[in-house]
């Protein structure tokens, strides 16, 4: 659908009747619908194999779409003008590759001047400013692989900002990081929120998602629930997504505490 002349800004993201999956495997997601406005920060939750990573990769244009469509600011997500910041899971990155923190951030600028063998001065300067924004300027010349998990994630977030992405997709940034790193990533996400960045984050950490995000999408192949955390994390929805492994959700002092959500084993897409 194209926006008509009377419509204001098209939504930042429209996912309509989406069906997608890896070309070599059965389709993972089907009939998926949701919309995000500019500046929305949404947590994407669901069990392993629910299709969270698949959805993020489909929006980023990394895998083909079988049915339906994904529009970013009203434009098809595969269009060359659409810029999507995608921060993959930790195991998707080669940590031994010879790059510094500054190199990684400046890569976000590569689109505009891809044929120059060197990085223009203004791109290098902008990358340095982004590192400063995330309090990483002191690590600019350090090897990327030698930094802590929290620093690495923040560098990848800074790279997405360098890309001037229309929407930022984060695939389980808290996976495999310790408490200190998690705190660093949380403050980086807070910074993104303050800057009005549209953000969709897949996570297994429902307690964190409920605490830090105003809106949650619960999915299992398709959308199970969409709304504020206290509306989404209801026993019936959780049962629908997680089956019998859904646990108890006590509400204490008006704050939602998610406890003992065991995840089903045997599904391994995410």
């Amino acid at each position: 659908m194209t926006p008509n002349g009377h419509a204001p800004e098209p939504p930042a993201l429209v996912v309509r009747e989406l069906g997608a999956g890896y070309p070599w495997a059965p389709r993972t997601i089907d009939q998926l619908n949701f919309t995000m406005e500019s500046g929305d920060c949404v947590a994407l939750v669901g069990p392993n194999g629910a299709g969270k990573s698949t959805l993020l990769q489909a929006i980023a244009g990394l895998i083909p779409i079988d049915t339906g469509e994904v529009l970013v600011h009203g434009i098809d997500c595969h269009d060359k003008d659409v810029q999507v910041g995608h921060i993959p899971q930790r195991n998707a990155i080669d940590w031994n590759f010879p790059v510094t923190a500054h190199d990684v951030v400046v890569m976000g600028h590569a689109r505009g001047n891809r044929w120059l063998p060197w990085w223009p001065k203004e791109d290098r300067q902008r990358a340095l400013e982004l590192l400063e924004l995330f309090q990483l300027a002191d690590f600019a010349e350090r090897a990327f692989g030698e930094l802590s998990a929290g620093q690495q994630q923040r560098i990848l977030i800074a790279r997405a900002l360098a890309q001037e992405a229309d929407i930022l997709l984060l695939d389980e940034p808290f996976n495999g990081v310790d408490v200190a790193a998690a705190a660093e990533i949380t403050s980086a996400l807070e910074l993104l929120r303050e800057q009005g960045i549209t953000m969709l984050m897949a996570t297994h950490d429902m307690a964190r998602a409920a605490r830090d995000f105003d809106r949650m999408l619960l999915m299992r192949g398709t959308l199970v629930a969409d709304g504020p955390p206290d509306e989404v994390l209801r026993p019936d929805f959780l049962h629908q997504a997680y089956g019998d492994s859904a646990g108890v959700l006590p509400v204490k002092d008006g704050v939602l505490h998610v406890a003992s959500i065991r995840e089903p084993v045997g599904l391994n897409d995410d």
């Binding site: 070599w24 790059v99 890569m107």
Partner: protein
């Protein structure tokens, strides 16, 4: 002093020695530059496979009297395509596919060469190179094509860097990722075939990997690694040439031994430095002493 200078200049009074030296410098630096991407990307095994897989193409060209370069390049590209085809639906793992494809191609090459009466001599030339046979036309061809490879790397540097480091970023930046991957493999295949006459199939891998691996130990940035590897490879060509001249060892073998010795020294230096740093951190100074 003059004696040393004499012994350095003496080989250069022969035309074939000048050509050999230039060819080794070119092949050494070119292989190291291209090999830097392979080392950074963890494609060492692929380099080994490709360097052996060119054999049937070279063998067919050799037997039929055709162009060795075209034959070798054709076989290299065919092997790369077979590997891509075998791994497309992930039923066969990449390293398994590489292993099967390259040994098959190598066996095919040996089978083709074995049909010739001068089997063993021909095979030795292809396996270990015959640098003294390089003429002016060969050298010109190597310089032109080698320059083209370097030019392509320069033009595509950023895109190759990103696709090697994080292919997904390449996709979201709308780079032609599949084309760039194929381009890198073709550049490796061209480099291998260009280096064939100088060092042969068997030792080719060392030229691709060793200078790049040495440079990797000394730097944390891809651009620096490429420059340093290129210099190490070029120096390896020069030193290997003189070692070969003075000791009568084949140049390919002399270069590889020299490159490996440098790698060993740098590795030892890095290990010692790391150990010293660790000890420094691990044993705090005693107060009051």
């Amino acid at each position: 002093m003059i004696e040393i200078l004499d012994s350095l200049l003496e080989p250069l009074s022969y035309g074939f020695a000048q050509r050999s030296l230039l060819a080794l410098m070119l092949v050494g630096s070119l292989s190291a530059v291209v090999g830097s991407f392979m080392v950074a990307r963890g494609l060492a095994f692929f380099g080994d496979a490709l360097s052996h897989a060119v054999l049937p193409g070279v063998a067919v060209a050799y037997t039929a009297g055709g162009n060795l370069f075209v034959g070798g390049l054709g076989a290299g590209i065919l092997t790369a395509l077979i590997i891509v085809f075998m791994t497309r639906d992930r039923k066969v793992k990449e390293d398994t596919a590489i292993g099967i494809a390259f040994v098959t191609m190598f066996a095919l090459g040996i089978a083709i060469i074995s049909t010739r009466p001068s089997y063993s001599g021909d095979l030795t030339h292809i396996l270990f190179g015959s640098i003294s046979g390089i003429d002016d036309a060969d050298l010109t061809f190597m310089v032109v094509l080698g320059s083209l490879v370097l030019l392509l790397i320069l033009v595509f540097y950023k895109q190759l860097l990103i696709v090697c480091f994080d292919p997904e970023l390449g996709h979201v930046l709308r780079f032609p990722v599949s084309f760039l991957r194929a381009l890198l493999l073709v550049l490796v295949a061209v480099t291998i075939v260009l280096s064939l006459q100088a060092v042969g199939v068997a030792l080719m891998l060392a030229l691709l990997l060793t200078p790049a691996a040495t440079a990797r130990l000394l730097t944390k940035r891809m651009s620096h690694m490429i420059l340093l590897a290129g210099l190490l490879g070029c120096a390896g060509g020069v030193i290997g040439f003189y070692l070969s001249w003075w000791t009568n060892v084949p140049p390919g073998s002399a270069i590889v031994l020299e490159l490996s010795a440098v790698f060993g020294l740098v590795y030892a230096y890095r290990t010692l430095r790391q150990r010293r740093r660790r000890t420094g951190l691990g044993v705090p100074s005693m107060p009051g002493r």
